[in-house]
Symmetry: C2
Subunit: 183 residues, 2 copies
């Protein structure tokens, strides 16, 4: 059983969260789990099909999942998970009340047993293919891009997108002036 989920890293721990109603994540409390996170960084084009590849950063974590019961650790983990997904939302949106906290389970997995695999750089072609020549080879960089935000149709606030959302679409230059809102 492999399932996609949100996560965050704090120090030497990975935190996952789930609805207590969903059950699947809660059922692994105290059980061994494997957590895998992969970022695709590029498509590697070689002279030969055989040497085509991907540039990526991948982590594989093995550990026992422990449900977080300490209220402060749970609060910190939830804040970090939200800020990982949507930076700025923890302070902008309404924070969880007691009922919502009870409906949310947080699991912690230690990073003590973790391995990382990374591929970077250009293709590695055979000498024969390099000699023959005539074929382009290189890397096509891949990244997550954000398109213009789509406001909730039920929204009373018309088109004002707050800066913590708008800035993800067109990140301001390092020395540029901040923009508070975009339409």
């Amino acid at each position: 059983m492999v399932l996609p989920t949100g996560y965050v890293r704090i120090g030497d721990m990975i935190y996952l969260h789930a609805s207590t109603g969903a059950g699947y994540l809660c059922s692994v409390d105290g059980e061994p789990v494997c957590v895998t996170i992969t970022h695709l960084d590029g498509i590697v084009y070689a002279r030969s099909v055989f040497h085509h590849s991907m540039n990526y950063r991948s982590a594989v974590v093995h550990g026992i999942a422990h449900r977080v019961t300490d209220p402060e650790e749970k609060w910190s983990a939830l804040r970090a998970i939200v800020e990982h997904l949507a930076p700025g939302s923890w302070t902008y949106a309404r924070q969880p009340d007691r009922r919502e906290l009870a409906a949310t389970a947080v699991l912690a997995v230690s990073l003590a047993e973790a391995s990382v695999k990374i591929r970077t750089g250009p293709p590695k072609d055979d000498a024969d293919d390099l000699e023959v020549g005539g074929r382009w080879a290189g890397v096509l960089p891949v990244r997550n891009a954000f398109d213009p935000p789509e406001p909730d149709p039920t929204s009373a606030v018309d088109g004002l997108v707050p800066a913590h959302v708008a800035s993800r679409v067109n990140p301001r230059p390092r020395n540029g002036a901040p923009t508070d809102h975009v339409r």
Copy 2:
């Protein structure tokens, strides 16, 4: 054990490939596996932290992995895997020779036992939070974007990027003229 890998779907099958030297994928020949594929489509911003979410399409496939031994099925699967990763590369690059084919294992998993989970659309906020108002909510669309290709430094062909690569960076308009090469 969960590992990232390339894949392709052909009809009712998922195909994965691996180096015969790597061993990990080959070792699951005849064994039950779980294959999970997730596309992140958007970050869902709600009025409350609790209702923050993600829009996504996720497939979870359970089945027995079978190593493909039929040469035609293996050839078709490899072509499809390459064309999924790098459309156009199968005909542009040098195709696999006998040695390279022997070094590559292909595994097939039936889609007979598969489930799909999808979230789309705007956030679902509590009525109380809608009444209070004052907070923006909506969806920030997410997609894979390609940055300008980085030619292999050892390349004899200088800056000519073939169309099947260049067109991924700036997809030409539906009725636009084709461009063969870009610098």
